[in-house]
């Protein structure tokens, strides 16, 4: 019944030429920051128009991004200080080809790109990091140390059917920590798995004005469309209130904060921004380990890492001449996917990088939090995000995933092995969009996926 109604609605509106579809078929997702597509690595192309100094600095940052830190002491002093507890030696190891990471696929394999974040609920109801294991679980350690333990992932198949009777199966993962090196987790500690995200276009997203993002918020759903959108306000150590826009729960305000957190918590690399590192007070052997230097990465090199991420261009769209892509774009709009995956944003003036400045971009995100329902919930609040809220992830570059990765892994923990599965996991505010997808006939489902693959 629903399928019939929806199909009828599409036929009546003439999907391919409906109003509002044109931006969804724009070839230049990043405006002037769209890549030519000629680079050896499609996600590694820099913005055009960099100065010589900017290019050199970005290349320095790229080298740091690509290079594994090593244990101290080492002849390679510029990159020693790894761990001793860590998730990954190099940024690149998680962000495969600068794209999304992958969870473990082999029995016994420990996660590298999939980080288990930890936080503990205090008696007063507030949340902080686990008192023993810290903010991240580190399943690896340098030689001479033992890792914090072992991550066990168990997957339970869940089945359902599309309206046309076709069966689908998705895997529900459950996470458990074993062989814990420093004793049991605090009983009130919650686990949130987070998969490394693509880093393309981050300079553009950082340049979207705060007012633009807040204008999209509708925390009380005053328009009654069932979709809210909340800002995640972060309070820094200095008490400053900042809008979160990066990370799976918009839990980082900018690229610098995201980068420093990853260096510290996932690699054990200290910096002036986070001199404490990832050893907790309870991890005495970790704290006593040799260090690369008082601060293991210099400010100039952190700045280079940030610039490298700012200057990465967005890949151009593909297959826009295919009818299925145009039809999929209309379906994307009609299914109301665009209510959260906002197709068009505009960036503010950016003085140092003109290619980022005042650009009309098509990232397919509102950078806001949405309740995605119990199926995706991690039960772990993050600043103002609840345990079932997630940031709308940008979709640009999505279609490049099969080109650059071994397998496809979508959503916050990579549980979705196909784009169809990713849609099927949508719940909460997105439950209606999911229902519309399930109601579509196979050809229209394929068209919607063709549209996503064109991004």
């Amino acid at each position: 019944m629903v399928a019939g109604l929806f199909a009828g609605m599409l036929a009546a509106t003439g999907v391919a030429a409906s109003n509002g579809v044109a931006p969804l078929l724009a070839p230049d997702s990043g405006g002037a920051a769209t890549a030519s597509g000629d680079a050896r690595e499609v996600l590694a192309e820099y913005l055009a128009g960099l100065s010589e100094a900017q290019y050199r600095t970005a290349r320095r940052g790229e080298a740091f991004f690509n290079t594994s830190f090593v244990p101290s002491p080492s002849r390679a002093q510029v990159r020693d200080g790894l761990g001793p507890l860590f998730n990954s030696g190099a940024c690149r190891s998680c962000h495969n080809s600068l794209g999304r990471g992958s969870p473990p696929t082999d029995p016994g394999q420990q996660p590298v790109a999939l980080v288990l974040q930890l936080s503990t609920r205090s008696a007063d109801g507030s949340w902080g990091m686990d008192p023993i294991y810290g903010a991240n679980f580190n399943p690896f350690a340098v030689e001479g140390f033992e890792p914090e333990g072992r991550v066990v992932i168990e997957r339970t198949p869940l089945r359902g059917r599309y309206a046309d009777g076709t069966e689908w199966v998705v895997d529900q993962p459950a996470y458990r920590l074993e062989d814990l090196r420093y004793g049991a987790l605090h009983p009130a500690t919650a686990i949130s798995p987070r998969l490394a995200q693509p880093i393309i276009g981050m300079g553009l997203l950082q340049a979207v004005p705060e007012e633009t993002i807040l204008a999209l918020a509708d925390p009380d759903d005053r328009d009654g469309d069932g979709i809210s959108g909340r800002a995640n306000w972060l309070h820094g150590k200095d008490g400053e209130k900042r809008l979160g826009r990066f990370g799976w729960k918009s839990n980082q305000p900018d690229i610098l904060a995201q980068t420093v957190a990853a260096l510290s918590q996932e690699q054990g690399i200290t910096s002036s921004h986070d001199p404490a590192g990832n050893c907790t007070a309870a991890q005495r052997d970790c704290r006593a380990a040799p260090i690369g230097a008082e601060l293991e990465i210099e400010d100039a090199d952190v700045d280079a890492l940030v610039l490298f991420q700012r200057v990465l261009a967005v890949p151009p769209r593909r297959n826009l001449d295919r009818p299925a892509v145009a039809r999929g774009a209309a379906l994307f709009r009609q299914a109301d996917c665009a209510a959260c995956h906002v197709p068009t944003l505009e960036t503010a003036a950016v003085a140092d990088l003109p290619a980022l400045s005042e650009q009309r971009i098509h990232a397919y995100t509102d950078l806001l939090l949405h309740d995605m329902g119990p199926g995706l919930a991690d039960g772990r609040p993050d600043h103002q995000a609840t345990g079932s809220e997630w940031r709308t992830p940008p979709l640009w570059g999505l279609g490049r995933t099969p080109d650059i990765a071994r397998g496809e892994f979508y959503l916050h923990d990579g549980r979705a092995r196909t784009l169809e599965e990713a849609v099927l996991w949508h719940g909460g505010e997105a439950a209606a969009a999911r229902a519309r997808f399930i109601a579509l006939p196979p050809a229209d489902r394929a068209a919607l996926i063709a549209f996503l693959r064109s991004l």
Partner: protein
């Protein structure tokens, strides 16, 4: 297809040890990541059968010094294990830029020559982390697969390529911080060795 007597022996060893691992895992209920049958923690979680790689890299290895680009590069034969001494990267003259831009400070690099007698898929297997490129003249080959594990003493990573028989390839290592590492070229599909 012709391979050395040692390679055939290794195949038998691989088959035997793989069976032993399977049998003892079943008998004692030990999980695959646990130390067992000569495979250290981590090695057992490789998705491919890397028994031959572990045999070569964990056994006796021939010593070679990698080329620095100015002189000749040592030959690396399929089915043999080597202990390779690399060159400080600032002294390297790579014939082509490595495909991964990495920090050169404190890094070591080196060149080796590879020629395979039979066309097919081969793994370049290393005991330590290093960026792997394979060139054929000016052409840089695309790898077909790769994997790596922390905590596997004798096999930190492998990268596979489709190679042509009789063609000379240059193996380029770069970016790692270990001057000495183990290396081997292993047929990726053991059935090809029958």
């Amino acid at each position: 297809m012709q391979y050395s007597k040692r390679s055939r022996t290794l195949l038998l060893l691989v088959a035997t040890s793989a069976f032993a691992l399977h049998a003892s895992t079943s008998a004692f209920g030990q999980s695959p990541h646990e130390h067992e049958g000569g495979r250290e923690q981590g090695c057992g979680s490789y998705e491919r059968d890397v028994g031959m790689d572990l045999e070569l890299l964990g056994g006796d290895r021939a010593d070679v010094t990698a080329g620095d680009g100015a002189g000749a590069s040592p030959d690396i034969r399929v089915g043999e294990g080597y202990t390779v001494r690399l060159v400080p990267q600032e002294e390297m003259e790579f014939p082509t830029e490595p495909t991964r831009h990495m920090l050169a400070e404190g890094a070591f690099g080196g060149l080796m020559s590879i020629e395979v007698p039979v066309a097919g898929s081969y793994r370049i297997s290393l005991t330590k982390a290093s960026w792997v490129d394979l060139a054929a003249g000016d052409e840089m080959l695309e790898s077909t697969d790769f994997s790596g594990r922390h905590g596997c003493e004798h096999l930190r990573k492998w990268v596979s390529y489709e190679l042509e028989a009789g063609r000379l390839y240059t193996l380029m290592l770069s970016g790692g911080t270990e001057q000495v590492l183990g290396a081997a070229v292993v047929p990726a599909d053991h059935q090809e060795m029958e």
